[in-house]
Symmetry: C2
Subunit: 188 residues, 2 copies
DNA sequence: GTCGTAAAGCTAATGGCATTAGCTTTACGA
DNA sequence: TCGTAAAGCTAATGCCATTAGCTTTACGAC
């Protein structure tokens, strides 16, 4: 019987596939092993624990998010760049909701250095996009926090089915971006 | 040996206590039963399943959130009411982070009628606070969505430890509220 | 080509958890 | 006083993660 030829990256990739196939299914070693055609304990040759696997999956998710933002923002600036970044995040989250949710730091779980680095890259990209004529440097941290919170909150509520009304959600999101961008003038 | 004298409400209340005692511990029937001084299967006399218990806990959380908003908003209007509502939500979430997190609809899980009703009440309170001179009625839904997303996103990021920098988080939150309120002028 | 070895895989066992079935006992009203 | 429904129990099942320790494959050194 030939060998499965797994590797840490392959295990993580398989997990991401499972998440794409069924975004609401919990991440489980049993499911990954079955998908890989391997017995469950064999996974421990590639991954230290379920938590470590979750962390690695989150790294993939955050990295993809950052890549999407970097692509979307290229060549734009000001309000256009801000909108592009916001839309890119939402688009990525909608295309891969399971991965997006799995990328959220489980409160109380400490993140790996790799995950922290990926998160910092994403935040740095946002920081570049949030600058605006007249924004005080001292308010940049606030602006990034506000942008993250608004976009993240919207995407999360949407993914959780939190918007009951049939009104156009795409339009609401664009207005969120406009409201926040305009409101940044407040930060003087 | 005397009886524990449980009831559905008592089980839910015990679960909320556990969540307050350790916000990051997962909700588990084993923990609840141990706290109640009862064998695990006995809980099934009061609760249909773990999922139902989670739902009931979420009802408590959302109701408390709505109560906090109602209290905070009483007698205020306009920007002051908006700020009070936002601050009340964040304060409640910080005082009971486990309960707040447990109140978020698990994506893919369908909510009970009771939970939906509690959520609608909370949203209705927000709708009352979001009105502003010159806000088109047609934009009210957008405004509520934006406010929910911004506040919820901020609180969630904060609870997850998402704000790495030491900068004053209280101040950032107040600025978030100001930015959103000012930005509402955008909605015409 | 042969062979040694490290990695990749396996089976078996353990312990936590939710859930179900079916029994016993308590409390309380007739 | 006693019958009954609810509250509790033990036992059993099945899923999951994790660990220990064994077997086998692939691959480089000779």
């Amino acid at each position: 019987m030939p060998r499965a030829g797994l590797s840490r990256d392959a295990v993580v990739a398989l997990t991401v596939e499972l998440l794409d196939a069924d975004p609401h299914a919990p991440i489980t070693l049993a499911a990954v092993a079955s998908r890989a055609g391997v017995a469950v304990p064999s996974l421990y040759k590639h991954v230290r624990s379920l938590d470590e696997l979750r962390d690695a999956v989150a790294v993939v998710g955050v990295t993809r998010l950052a890549d999407a933002v970097a692509d979307a923002v290229a060549g734009a600036s000001g309000r256009a760049a801000f909108r592009a970044a916001g839309r890119a995040i939402r688009a990525e989250a909608r295309a891969h909701p399971g991965l997006y949710l799995a990328s959220q730091p489980a409160p109380g779980r400490e993140a790996s250095a790799e995950l922290l680095a990926a998160g910092e890259r994403a935040v740095a990209l946002l920081a570049g996009v949030v600058r605006r004529e007249g924004l005080l440097a001292a308010r940049e941290v606030d602006a990034v926090r506000i942008a993250r919170a608004a976009v993240h909150g919207f995407v999360l509520l949407e993914a959780a089915g939190g918007f009951g009304l049939p009104d156009d959600v795409d339009a609401s999101f664009d207005r969120l971006l406009d409201v926040v961008w305009a409101g940044f003038a407040e930060l003087g």
